[in-house]
């Protein structure tokens, strides 16, 4: 019996192995005999440990040492916080804020002619072709002052 078969039978017949049908009970008890006193969670953890194992890579130490030597031989000119994800995010945020402010400034400059055009439209004046202000002071108004 394998662990998988044991778990399948446990789901089928319940946690109490003594209540299992005889042939399954015998197999289960044989399966559990070597680990009779072990905690079932520990047994499963052992299986996970065994299943998780990866091939030993003897080159790990060599590669780490090479990386350490490389980083020691080539000191970076860029501050380390700038290459970290948080540093990159901070730089991106700063660029975004600068672009937004610059956008507002440009838009404000372009607002001026638009305002005068709207005012001309409201007062029923024709817009001059040379781009000068459309609002011409009323001569009568000047005299009255």
């Amino acid at each position: 019996m394998t662990r998988a078969e044991f778990e399948k039978n446990r789901r089928r017949f319940g946690d109490d192995i003594e209540a299992w049908p005889a042939p399954f009970r015998r197999q289960a008890l044989e399966f559990l005999a070597p680990q009779a006193n072990a905690d079932p969670d520990d047994v499963l953890d052992g299986l996970v440990r065994e299943a998780a194992l990866v091939e030993e890579d003897g080159a790990l130490a060599r590669k780490v040492m090479a990386r350490i030597d490389r980083s020691a031989a080539r000191p970076s000119l860029v501050p380390s916080f700038l290459v970290a994800p948080a540093g990159i995010a901070a730089c991106a945020a700063a660029v975004l804020v600068a672009a937004t402010v610059a956008g507002y400034q440009v838009a404000r400059l372009e607002d001026q002619p638009q305002d005068s055009e709207l005012l001309a439209l409201a007062s029923g004046e024709r817009l001059p072709d040379d781009g000068s202000s459309a609002i011409i002071p009323d001569p009568g108004e000047e005299d009255s002052l």
Partner: protein, 194 residues
């Protein structure tokens, strides 16, 4: 080297902080495989795991002086760095996948289960690996820290930045899901053979 191997982790870290490469080699010999196993099974990519473990050990080399034995065990500190690097690596991978820069997907463990049918024991291990790869990331992390890192509940909680209660919950759910997966695989095999 034999001398370094007999030292405790705390002492090795103190010597690494003082610039001893022999101490780093001894620490790698002791924990390198565990860290690599954890990273490989958590990330599902051997190459990413290799990168992560190299990064972790370079970090240990540079920051060994920051380890304080009063605050916890060396293995907890090592796994904490590894967990943080693994999370960063998963985010990078997800971002690359999102922008279509990467066509790598998680290892198809189910195929591995089919390919590795030489013996019942091997097949069972393949089924466990398959089950592990299907667990939610935090359940998988908790189970691997327990089984591979052999950390206790308190240490796992510290590594994961969670409470002991939630780690216990993660372990209970992860083990239950793994048992269910084993049972399903056995039932599937039985159906196939009949």
């Amino acid at each position: 080297m034999a001398d370094e191997a007999s030292r405790g982790d705390d002492e090795l870290l103190a010597r690494i902080a003082a610039g001893s490469q022999a101490a780093l080699s001894a620490l790698m010999a002791r924990h390198g495989r565990g860290l690599r196993t954890f990273a490989a099974r958590y990330l599902g990519h051997a190459a990413d795991a290799e990168d992560v473990v190299q990064e972790v050990l370079v970090t240990v080399w540079k920051q060994a002086a920051r380890f304080d034995p009063e605050k916890g065990r060396a293995s907890t500190w090592l796994y904490r760095i590894t967990v943080n690097r693994c999370i960063d690596q998963r985010r990078r991978r997800a971002l690359r996948n999102f922008f279509g820069l990467d066509d790598l997907v998680e290892e198809p463990a189910a195929q591995e289960a089919d390919a590795e049918a030489a013996t019942a024991a091997k097949q069972e291990l393949a089924i466990v690996r398959d089950g592990l790869s299907r667990l939610p990331a935090r359940q998988r992390m908790a189970l691997l820290l327990r089984a591979v890192g052999e950390l206790d509940i308190g240490a796992i909680a510290e590594v994961m930045g969670a409470s002991a209660g939630s780690v216990e919950q993660l372990l209970v759910r992860g083990r239950r899901a793994l048992r269910d997966h084993l049972a399903d695989a056995a039932a599937g095999r039985e159906r196939k053979s009949s």
